[in-house]
């Protein structure tokens, strides 16, 4: 299955939706797919079942669920003829069970959506949120007749549909992609004035489409998890090497009694594998307990199902991994230890020795590897944390404190046109303005940083305007008067919108400062005209009446290229967002807005009331999650590395007790012993730091995409990470080193 996007690389436009005429053209003319379908998000107000409720849903083509291979658990899917007529809907299982009390007679039941009775023809299973979103409950089939877009605009190429297709058996994406230019050419000839006829069509696999944006973050986390696993493995290998070396006498005895080398290796490998499997099971139990936390941490920004759990493949993979780890990590130490000299091994006293030079080098190498991986993780975590802190302090250009936001969907049956929608908005803002506690209220089509984006083709109206099909798309926001005051966006020149900028009045527009710089460099923009949209084949001219400060309304990490503000009355939609700056708590503000709504129209619910601060914070949700998880992994890696270093140094001290006693007998002071132990412990650490920092440099590109104003080669952060590791390693060496200074030389010499 593939997703089909529009793209105009020359104008830096990517991932563009489809228009209705374009979809029809592709549907009728394509040869690469066995089927092609489309959908779009929509809102529905459910009435006559208790209080009016705002529902989220999607309009789909009749073959949509067949293409996806989703079968209803009750009833049927849409029929092709129902696309043209028929008020029928499908609902999800959760809707059926929670809102209709699992009504056994759900099929054929009528529910009123947006004031129109609709018949339920099917019940779908609960659907994955990564594709359908978190709250989707209703599916309708009015995709080609959107109530919020005039028909002539629909046919002029307003693009809003998500298009998917299933490749024919044996067809590859590349082969299907090769058929797109012909379809593009055909559409251009069929609809020469539609602006979307200049867009190329790009095919992306559904898997890539769903995960693409998350890929860098997930790859980073996968790398982090792998690094932690490798650190743990080298820790285990080191400990096993030391442990098996200490059993030289036992090994020598077993072999002296006739044991084969293979039996010795088998014994030790079984031991190490058993421990590893037990650890794997313990880890799984811990995972079972903690995995439910991850969707909460992911919040709204990462589409993780709320019922995320450990599936059988995950369980099998984890246990297999722990088995293989035990096997591999135990094999070399077991093999090395089984090569003991029988005579020397039997001669030894109980303590054993520190092992051969090769084993020493291997142990030091393992410590260096742990340190190297840890410093890379700690450095990466430090970069992500610094990046997040910078981003969270980034000035957005608007204030978000004490601002309440909530959505309202105006049913087309009661608000069929721009005039009725504009009247509603005017009444609502007036009602709210008179409420005690409300400082200022306004309306916008999309709340900043909420993820909702609307763009229009634009061009300067003077001179030779760029042809419609070659125009760039600019961020366009429909707002009511007082929007800028609500968000404290400074008015730099001209005026704000007012009631006189109504439905039938001359079109006006306010520009952001960056837009002025781009479109009218070194000119006064006030009074100039800009063409918007596709009306009349050239777009409708709007006069520039004001300039406001720049805001980061699409992405906090990126300044908007251009941003246009249009008066709500002149560019309205049935869905709007209310913004209220008040002195009351959010819950109280919700009550105020609800009351004001009731005074105007009793049947309108508020959609997802929230604070603007929370919305801004949620926009950083994915980065926050990556940072938090990487921070946890880095902490675990640091702990493992410190434990590994401590263990290696402590064991070395224990095994070198005699040598330390000799040195003391020869006159070594406390500081000499400390220096000896710490130097021996820190040598592989320093090597590991060098390797780790070099490695971090090399993989900086993987991280760069997720950093904000932080270079992956930031010397301060790299230095800080190395310092943290070095200090931790030093402390890990100091404890056994201090113990070494307390060795009684007489006892040590006796044992030696």
């Amino acid at each position: 299955m593939v997703r089909i996007y529009g793209e105009a690389k020359d104008r830096d436009l990517k991932e563009l939706p489809f228009s209705v005429p374009k979809f029809w053209h592709y549907r009728d003319g394509q040869t690469a797919f066995s089927s092609i379908a489309a959908d779009r998000g929509n809102g529905f107000i459910l009435t006559e079942i208790g209080e009016p409720i705002q529902l989220f849903g999607r309009d789909v083509t009749a073959n949509y669920f067949d293409l996806l291979g989703i079968h209803p658990i009750l009833g049927r899917t849409f029929l092709p003829e129902e696309e043209a007529k028929g008020d029928v809907v499908m609902v999800t299982e959760s809707f059926w069970r929670n809102r209709l009390n699992s009504d056994p007679n759900v099929l054929g039941r009528s529910i009123t959506l947006n004031g129109v009775p609709n018949t339920i023809i099917g019940v779908l299973p609960n659907l994955p949120i990564s594709w359908f979103g978190r709250h989707t409950e209703i599916f309708a089939n009015k995709l080609f007749e959107p109530a919020d877009i005039a028909k002539d605009r629909v046919m002029r190429g307003v693009s809003f549909m998500r298009v998917i297709a299933r490749l024919k058996p044996g067809e590859t994406i590349q082969q299907a992609q090769a058929t797109m230019p012909a379809l593009e050419k055909g559409y251009r000839e069929e609809r020469p004035e539609n602006p979307d006829n200049s867009w190329a069509s790009v095919l992306v696999s559904i898997a890539e489409d769903v995960t693409g944006n998350l890929r860098p973050a997930f790859m980073t986390l996968l790398a982090a998890v792998s690094a932690v696993l490798l650190i743990a493995c080298s820790n285990v290998a080191n400990l096993l090497l030391v442990r098996f070396t200490g059993r030289r006498r036992e090994i020598a005895l077993r072999m002296a009694l006739g044991g084969q080398r293979s039996s010795i290796v088998r014994l030790f490998v079984i031991e190490s594998t058993l421990v590893s499997v037990i650890a794997g099971v313990a880890g799984l139990c811990l995972a079972l307990w903690t995995v439910s936390i991850v969707p909460h941490m992911a919040g709204q920004n990462v589409p993780l199902e709320s019922g995320v759990s450990l599936h059988l493949p995950v369980l099998v993979f984890t246990l297999a991994l722990s088995l293989i780890t035990g096997l591999l990590m135990g094999l070399y130490p077991a093999w090395q230890s089984s090569r003991t000299d029988l005579v020397e091994g039997l001669k030894e006293g109980g303590g054993g020795s520190t092992g051969s030079h090769r084993q020493h080098r291997l142990r030091r190498g393992l410590v260096a590897a742990q340190v190297g991986l840890s410093v890379a993780l700690v450095a990466s975590a430090a970069m992500l944390i610094s990046s997040f802190v910078r981003l969270s302090r980034q000035e957005s250009g608007f204030r978000s404190e004490r601002i309440w936001a909530g959505g309202i969907a105006l049913p087309p049956s009661r608000y069929p046109d721009a005039a009725s929608q504009a009247r509603f908005v005017q009444r609502l803002t007036e009602e709210l303005q008179n409420e005690p506690g409300v400082e200022v209220a306004s309306v916008t089509g999309a709340v900043p940083l909420s993820g909702d984006i609307s763009r229009s083709p634009y061009a300067r109206a003077d001179g030779n305007p760029t042809p419609l099909t070659q125009r760039p798309l600019g961020l366009t926001r429909s707002i009511s008067p007082n929007y800028f005051r609500t968000l404290s966006i400074p008015l730099i020149a001209g005026r704000d919108f007012s009631e006189r900028d109504g439905v039938d009045q001359p079109l006006v527009v306010i520009l952001s400062k960056a837009t002025v710089k781009k479109l009218f460099p070194n000119e006064d923009p006030l009074g100039r005209r800009i063409l918007f949209g596709t009306d009349n084949g050239t777009g409708a001219p709007a006069e520039v009446i004001g300039v406001v400060g720049d805001v980061r309304s699409a992405d906090l990490a990126k300044a908007n290229d251009v941003e246009f503000y249009r008066p709500w009355a002149q560019r309205s939609t049935p869905f709007l967002n209310v913004l209220v700056r008040s002195t009351t708590k959010p819950e109280a503000t919700t009550g105020i807005v609800r009351l004001s709504l009731k005074n105007i129209d009793d049947g309108l619910p508020i959609i997802q009331p929230n604070t603007l601060e929370a919305i801004v914070s949620e926009s950083l949700g994915e980065r926050r999650l990556t940072m938090a998880l990487l921070g946890v992994f880095a902490g675990i890696a640091l702990l493992l590395a410190v434990v590994g270093i401590y263990g290696a140094v402590a064991y070395t001290v224990e095994q070198r007790t005699g040598e330390i006693g000799v040195r003391m007998a020869l006159g070594a002071q406390t500081v000499d012993v400390l220096r000896l132990v710490v130097r021996q412990g820190m040598n592989p650490v320093i090597l590991g730091l060098i390797i780790g920092l070099t490695g971090t440099f090399a993989v900086g590109r993987l991280l760069a995409a997720q950093l904000y104003q932080i270079s992956p080669h930031d010397p301060f952060l790299l230095g800080a990470a190395a310092t943290v590791l070095a200090v931790a390693a030093l402390l890990a060496c100091l404890f056994p080193a201090r113990r070494a200074t307390r060795i009684d030389p007489i006892q040590a010499l006796r044992s030696e």
């Binding site: 000799v662 040195r663 003391m664 007998a665 020869l666 006159g667 000499d672 007489i746 010499l749 030696e752």
Partner: protein
């Protein structure tokens, strides 16, 4: 301050008691012992008589429970660990039964080891080490590791390490204990040569044959000196 006739080492009523699990073990009781510069003294006795304990006290590895110990006229019995280590480094050269060479260090580095704790410069250390190795006939193996030497050669290196710092006295704890008779004789001959060169030696041995190499033998039994005899 020590003049020519004063003993190098003087133990006066030295006692050592070990307390383990409320059991008192009197390892040494009222030991009086003088060792003069240039003397070659052997301390003999059966196992458990307190020879090694006495040597540990002489070598400032341990402190007496009672009594006094003066070295070169200075009371050293109850000095701090750091002071004892410093005096041990400068005035006493140890030769152990099991050689106690450090396996990761070369012959040169092993002999050099006590000098590094004095803060001596590299060139001066080299000079002292070379001289010591030449005295024991092991200069040609300076770059070898102990594992590449025979037992007798290792003990020679251990003797060189003891000599390198030009100590006031050499303390040898069963220096032939881990050697065959031929090598043992060779080491004893080396000690005799060193003594002939003016070294003061105190050797612990349970072997009467080797005890007779010394000028004077002090016999211990149950922690007491039972005989202090000058060799004929």
């Amino acid at each position: 301050m020590n003049n020519g006739s004063d003993p190098l080492i003087r133990l006066n009523s030295v006692t050592k008691v070990f307390l383990t699990d409320e059991v008192e073990t009197h390892a040494l009781s009222g030991i009086h012992l003088d060792i003069r510069p240039g003397e070659y003294v052997s301390i003999a006795g059966p196992s458990g008589c307190g020879k090694t304990t006495l040597l540990s006290i002489l070598g400032l590895l341990d402190t007496p429970s009672d009594g006094s110990y003066s070295l070169k006229g200075y009371e050293v019995a109850n000095l701090s660990f750091a002071d004892r280590a410093r005096i041990r480094n400068r005035e006493i050269g140890f030769i152990f039964q099991s050689f106690n060479l450090i396996g990761d260090l070369t012959v040169f580095e092993n002999v050099e080891l006590p000098l590094t704790y004095r803060g001596m410069g590299a060139s001066e250390r080299k000079s002292f080490v070379t001289e010591a190795l030449e005295r024991v006939g092991m200069a040609h193996r300076a770059k070898h590791l102990p594992s590449q030497l025979s037992g007798g050669q290792q003990q020679r290196v251990a003797v060189a390490r003891a000599l390198a710092g030009r100590p006031a006295i050499l303390l040898a704890d069963e220096p032939t204990g881990n050697l065959d008779s031929r090598n043992g004789e060779a080491v004893m001959q080396l000690l005799k040569e060193l003594h002939g060169g003016g070294a003061t030696i105190c050797m612990v041995t349970h072997d009467e044959r080797f005890a007779q190499h010394a000028d004077r033998t002090v016999h211990l039994f149950d922690g007491r000196v039972v005989e202090d005899r000058i060799a004929a």
